[in-house]
Assembly symmetry: C2
Homo-oligomer: 332 residues x 2
Amino acid sequence: MTDAPALSEIAIIQRYLAPLAAGFAGAFGLTDDCASVAPPPGFDLVVKTDPIREGVHFLPADPPEALAWKALAVNISDLAAKGAKPFVYTMALCMPEPPTEAWLSRFTKGLGDAQATFGCHLIGGDTDRAPGPLSIAITALGLVPAGQMVRRGAARAGDVIYVSGTLGDAALGLSIASRDASVASWSLDDDARAFLADRYRRPQPRTGLSAALLAHASAAMDLSDGLHLDLSRMMTAASVGATIDLARLPLSEAARAAIAAQPSLRVRTWSGGDDYEILCTVSPDRGAAFEADAARAGIAVTAIGRVTTDRRLSFPGFEQDIAARPAGWQHF
Amino acid sequence: MTDAPALSEIAIIQRYLAPLAAGFAGAFGLTDDCASVAPPPGFDLVVKTDPIREGVHFLPADPPEALAWKALAVNISDLAAKGAKPFVYTMALCMPEPPTEAWLSRFTKGLGDAQATFGCHLIGGDTDRAPGPLSIAITALGLVPAGQMVRRGAARAGDVIYVSGTLGDAALGLSIASRDASVASWSLDDDARAFLADRYRRPQPRTGLSAALLAHASAAMDLSDGLHLDLSRMMTAASVGATIDLARLPLSEAARAAIAAQPSLRVRTWSGGDDYEILCTVSPDRGAAFEADAARAGIAVTAIGRVTTDRRLSFPGFEQDIAARPAGWQHF
């Protein structure tokens, strides 16, 4: 990132980061050692820490605006799944080399766009230098009515299982963003490629779905490691199982086109990571109300299965595909 | 760190990290995606994010218990300086290789000791794997009476400047912990060496001083980058200056012995980092009450100078030493 004289830490903070804190009084313009945060009466804070690192969660060639967006979006996505409204965040930025003004300008532009879109403010953090991949560690705090955080582990047998948006786009987009040679065989036009790469680079946290989740969901979490693995986590947490109709997974037009050209890509729609869609369970008698609230928020939701008392996941019609493939991304 | 089969991420969380969250209901035993935090009525949260990385903030040979202690202590030190009581924290742990059970066991033992000492609980975070140095990024949340956070930038001309504890020990301890050959010339006995290395490895946040700071300090911050640099930040933030009597800096017996053998080491008492003591300013009419409250808390405080209207730092009798040496640690 170096091709100009290094900026001091204080110049980085005052010139590029402090403007992102200007809208929140308790951030003290990033001139103090800590921030002061008071949730409004009747609200709890929902807290999430999810860092992203070059080579693991994003590519060296990804634009700085996109890294910044993604670093915040992956945390806001978790808050949205819990029914929480984004509030404030801290960021620890660790760089292998001093950043240039051009890089900082683009990175903070992306962060500014993201926080304006999600409705939250930077309140503090740290910038330092260490060898190794560029790392952006955000801790996000959201607001939820007291005692109402939507839990991961509260699914009940009989509940309907929903997902938001479309699945698998980001996993396909990663191949495109990585310039994987196999993409040529997918027969996609430029718009479809750009759409999928954007789904990888710029996840869209479903903050608009928070109110519907708070009102109707028995359990919810965001999808970051693939539907199969995340579903298994959600069902295990409630000591239940699920039966899923994989033929009903919502797919984008671009993903449908790629799968039509290369049927083996279909597995990515349930095992690929980085969807940042919402997985939730809703009691059958609230299904219609949940769907109506989601529609009013402009977010597509699709029923894909049911929670079962039997503590296993079943995928009628797809058991062979499932058996042939492990259940998603794990770090260790 | 590898000499046994890798543990899964879930085993790391459930076996080693979840016990650290057991005392806080809103952490949900680390089985959910987020934590739920409600400050008691009448309190604000004070938020700090300060990561530490191998090779920058600690040494590869430092024991795992010490890394864990330090990762939490550097954040709690900031909270203490703001008058806040430690409450909860998240941790993003990034490792270049899967950790062994032996390492995890020692690391989480150190973290458990630290959180029990400081009075706070783990509520969430993330463990992942990426090339580069081991990194531990903690975000700590403390509690302070609403609107009372002690600010960095509120020093007033005429205030007395105090520091807690003793200065320079950690900078000397770093040479000892790094097995720097020059240490032989310091003529220290084993106890003195162990004391100084421990001051580097296991900073002692002055949480006991919070109440006295809340009651009496006009401004406060913790000392992490050396007295000279941190003092210049505090005075700049208030558009004031300071005159400091460096002969009055509080020194440990071990530091005195090292300086007696090698007078050039004295500079480390004002330019060395990692002290994690408190720097604060107190109106002269509250000085006696502040000293009495600090004494009751069992924490030594020493008046080392005065805040001035003249916007510069002066060090009567030491101007030549100061001119010869830059003002402390900066990352860029």
